[in-house]
Amino acid sequence: MQTILDKKQMRRRKQGGNTILEFALVMVFLVPMFAGSFTIGLALAKDIQVSNVARDAVVLMVRSVTDPESGLDLSQTQNQRIIVRAASGLGMNSDAQQDPSSSGNAVVFLSKVVMVGPNECSLGVIPAPNGVPTTTGPGYGWNASNCANYGLYAFEYRVTIGNGTRWSSTLGSPPAGTVQANGTITAKNIATNTAGQVGNFSAVTGMTLSPSIFALVSEMYADVSFLNFFSILRNPTLYARSIS
């Protein structure tokens, strides 16, 4: 009996080093696996959050753009906090009261794009640019020449919330100076300013709008490199777009 017990004790002693070695070997695989699971899991959660923020932003935009009397002016910081709060944990805020940070880790672009039609031309070409009638009869006051954006997509609205210098909208940007303080663009610029066209709208969204129909587009970028352990994510930037 004594002999058998001694043999077992000796075997256990020999296996003591093996256990550490095996643990080390297993950890070589387990640690990256756990880190990967952690990173991908969190990234997935953040991806869902970014999608939800983009969706929330476009819903707010529907209210803001189509009903200015709602008072929900998204160019105002206090209203932008609604979006920044939804993006909690993404580094979009600059302070505890959820003001957007212009140097933070996230940005939301709010755009309204319209297919310029007769309505936009009528509103934007008042009176005819040179003050002289350009044609007679129906459509008086505008034509395809003085309404240069007719039949094309153009920006009607743009508000940027967060770090707008780090990323840019996939739709491009309206020319500097044409966006008014509240994010709107004048009827004249919509109809006549060719720099305000959104040439890639169909390519980006896959959509074709009828004249005078608009689309509200919310895009969000967020840098999640803070959770990218072992550089598992090749590009730690999340992007989501919601169109309404």
Binding site: D67, Y140, F214, A215
Partner: protein
């Protein structure tokens, strides 16, 4: 004991593998379920967002067509497009192409009739792949969701001015008269609305014409608009009243109930039960072989009631207890007061119909006109106790009616609307034109292209003591002291403005239908004056914007009759008929925005 324990361990060796294998089935199953459910969750989350976006977009797109079938086709296409933009085919390895089905449902009120709200329901479904559930022969799970967007319907009455002042000469650029420009703009305007929207038409001159009750069939409406011709006077009060009755008759309290008033100037029609003139007095008259040179060979004054012999007319200035009768241009003798015998014996009887201004808005006589039916199908009531009833029509009306009463037949206060602010037009708690004279305070536009370049903007009569009558009412000491005089065009316009503001106030007070009154004002026609406050008050616009005649330095001020508890309408003013199409389009954009 130790031996027994060792044996037990040896016996248990195979059990670990068995337990592990058994546990693995559950673990793998749980992991597989987590992966499959996670996939379904991801797909469904995006699907929900996509159907919501599709429903909102489909709701916007129903304005793009003239028929319901076209609208539903367009809305379906739009819904599909917006869905695809938010839920690309193959998203998260979803299988096949998602199906998107829009449905249009008119909501009903408690009594089963349409409430005015259109629900656009978009249902979409897609097959989500399974990875581990494949083991159990479940290859996909269908995920579906429904998004609903409610679109507030529109019940709108177009109220278009077809008075004679719209018959201008053709514009050198467009070739259109003001009347034609209005027809063109209104026609385009109607096309901007959805076939789900109810739109009707009232045109008005001295009589209001209900051309179309609110209907979703806009083709007849468009045809009626295109056939509008202009002439006669401006009975805005009755037109607004008829339009309002149509909104109520349509009966959609949750819809955006709206009146769009287009007019080119001051109203000048009053519909009331006018008391018979049974007391002889002195008043302006188109008489005496044209002492008023604008009325050649006017009719003689009537005979005293009960007598067959016309009296010898006497010329005097007793209408004027103020100063000599002189117009704003310093011209004398353009109006004569005559001692006018009474033509009725019973002061308690009334004439029912519409009187109006005739010619210019003179403050020193001139002509008034009546009686006319206020609307199609209405009749004029003439008491049999008055003589010369066969000569009632036309400018003789001033001989038959005693005065303009304080309220019209619709119950409107002909002295104005409750004031909520202060200013020169506020008197006795009302914003009123009681003390207003129109043909004064000429302003010339800073824009040389505005035509006519100068217009009278009116003022308080107290500031113009040397002009005309100096008052809109009969003066004290006369039989009808304190009442509006029916023989002075300036007074008829003043009372009409008061009545129109009052009618608009009454309409906006409706807490069931919450009507909105929008106004487009074309100032450029005729010689009539322009008024800065009148139409913004009708629209309940928050402030008083500049007229095209105001200087660049003009600063808008608060609407002295603004009612915070009532709906606020849009107000657009222009002197250029060629802007009407744009302004109507702008208004459509506002109306549709509110209806979304």
């Amino acid at each position: 004991m130790k031996m027994t324990s060792e044996r037990k361990r040896e016996k248990q060796r195979g059990m670990a593998i068995f337990f592990y294998a058994t546990m693995l089935i559950f673990v793998v199953g749980c992991v597989g379920l987590a992966v499959d459910v996670g996939t379904i969750y991801m797909i469904r989350a995006r699907l929900v967002a996509a159907v919501d976006a599709a429903a909102l977009a489909a709701g916007r797109s129903v304005n793009l067509s003239n028929t319901v079938s076209q609208a539903t086709t367009n809305a379906s296409a739009t819904a599909t497009q917006f869905f695809a933009a938010n839920f690309p085919t193959g998203y998260f390895n979803s299988l096949g192409t998602p199906t998107v089905t829009p449905t249009f449902i008119q909501e009903s009120g408690g009594n089963g009739s349409p409430s005015g709200v259109l629900d656009i329901q978009v249902t979409a479904s897609v097959a989500a792949p399974t990875y581990f559930m494949n083991i159990f022969n479940v290859h996909s799970i269908t995920v579906s969701d429904t998004g609903v967007a409610s679109r507030r319907g529109v019940v709108m009455m177009l109220v278009l001015d077809q008075s004679s002042s719209m018959n201008t000469s053709a514009d050198p650029g467009s070739g259109l008269t003001a009347c034609q420009a209005m027809v063109q703009a209104a026609g385009n305007f109607v096309n901007l609305f959805s076939p789900f929207d109810y739109i009707g038409l009232v045109t008005f001159d001295i009589t209001a014409h209900l051309m179309d009750a609110p209907s979703t069939n806009h083709s007849q409406l468009s045809s009626d608009i295109s056939n509008i011709t202009c002439g006669s006077n401006t009975n805005t009060i009755t037109a607004l009243n008829v339009a309002y009755q149509q909104l109520v008759a349509t009966g959609e309290p949750l819809a955006l109930n709206s009146i769009v008033l287009f007019t080119d100037g001051s109203p000048n029609g009053i519909t009331a039960n006018f008391p018979a003139r049974a007391i002889a007095d002195s008043r302006f008259g188109p008489s005496l072989n044209s002492p008023d040179r604008s009325q050649p060979n006017g009719p003689a004054p009537p005979a005293q009631a009960g007598s067959s012999n016309p009296p010898a007319p006497g010329i005097n200035n007793s209408c004027n207890s103020n100063v000599g009768i002189q117009d704003a241009n310093g011209i004398w003798g353009n109006a004569i007061c005559v001692g006018m015998p009474a033509v009725c014996t019973n002061a308690s009887v009334t004439f029912q119909g519409t009187i109006s201004q005739w010619g210019d808005q003179n403050s020193y006589g001139g002509s008034t006109y009546g009686l006319e039916p206020p609307q199609d199908g209405a009749s004029v009531t003439i008491p049999s106790s008055c003589t010369y009833t066969n000569a009632l029509a036309g400018t003789n009306v001033r001989q038959f009616i005693a005065y303009i009463p304080d309220t019209d037949i619709y119950g409107n206060n002909l002295h104005g609307v409750p004031a909520t602010g202060s200013g020169p037009t506020v008197s006795g708690g009302l914003v009123t034109r009681d003390n207003w004279i129109f043909q004064v305070n000429s302003l010339c536009s800073p824009d040389p292209t505005v035509s006519p370049n100068c217009k009278n903007t009116g003022g308080l009569w107290s500031g113009f003591t040397n002009i005309g009558m100096g008052f809109n009412k009969f003066r004290s000491g006369t039989p009808y002291a304190g009442f509006f005089r029916p023989d002075q065009p300036n007074t008829v316009v003043a009372a009409s403005m008061n009545g129109t503001m009052s009618q608009a106030y009454t309409i906006r007070s409706d807490t069931t239908y919450h009507p909105v009154i929008n106004v487009i004002y074309l100032t450029g026609n005729g010689t009539d004056s322009v008024d800065r406050e009148f139409l913004p008050i009708v629209a309940n616009y928050p402030n008083i914007p500049a007229l095209p005649y105001d200087p660049v330095s003009y600063t808008p001020y608060a609407n002295p009759a603004f009612q915070t508890s009532q709906e606020t309408g849009q107000y657009y003013v222009t002197a250029d008929r060629n802007q009407l199409t744009s302004l109507f389009a702008q208004l459509a954009s506002e109306v549709l925005r509110l209806s979304k």
